[in-house]
Symmetry: C2
Subunit: 149 residues, 2 copies
């Protein structure tokens, strides 16, 4: 099956999906946000085939979201640490989690807890306008392609 | 290639990716947010194969993000309209767009403009804590699995 590559499309959604548009990739990122850094821990938590995990970690390293850092010399062992680019995906992930909890989750048992250290509460994401801080919902926004794509 | 289904995983990210974890699906949603409702318009804008588009539209209808509405009797013709569940994905999409613009986009020509009607400005998404309205960044949040998954 040939996979269309959207990497060159002049659209951030297309480019993002080209990178993350795979079930496992976002779950690998989720584990990284839980604090997982080592291959075996990723493998254990996700129950993912080792070759699939290798491929997804390599993709995230290649794209710049994870750094591969050697933590042991002989034998050489590596861990995978979120870069600034990877860390910066967190708000988008939090917004996805909130939507998923609302529409696809089990309300009696939300499976992921976000603990906001600043206010000391279990919380969820709200998406606001960067200028007026009002809610950025579809009713209040007109979305337009600014160029090709 | 067998595709692992994450639909029953007790994790909103897994469930969301099971639904959207495909390059085309999010781009079809993007078109819906641009206001596209008809099959031929989706097809034209995306340059997507008709059978692929049919499959993705059916998936989004089946998942509850789009409604299929008949707008002509003979021959029967349908349009695809965002449901409340579909509309509610907009904030997450806006957060993804902002990340993509920052890390994958061309800064001189952001390809999607979000016009916030409330304040009358071109804007981008910011993700805040639902309680204290502080920034919901990875440094300020501890993310924990609350149950299995």
């Amino acid at each position: 099956m040939r996979r269309t590559s959207f990497a060159r499309w002049p659209c951030s959604i297309a480019r993002t999906m080209d990178l993350l548009g795979d079930q496992w990739t976002l779950l690998v990122l989720r584990e990284a946000f839980y604090g997982v850094t080592r291959f075996d821990r990723f493998q254990e938590s996700l129950g993912i085939a080792r070759n699939t995990l290798t491929e997804r970690l390599d993709r995230l390293v290649g794209a710049g979201l994870l750094n591969r850092v050697r933590y042991q010399e002989r034998p050489a062992r590596y861990e995978y640490v979120l870069t600034e680019m990877g860390q910066d995906f967190f708000p988008a992930l939090a917004a996805i989690i909130h939507w998923g909890d609302r529409w696809l989750g089990d309300p009696s048992a939300p499976p992921i807890t976000l603990w906001h250290k600043d206010c000391g509460r279990s919380t969820h994401a709200e998406v606001h306008c960067a200028h007026c801080q009002g809610a950025l919902t579809s009713e209040h926004v007109t979305m337009q392609p600014a160029g090709p794509g």
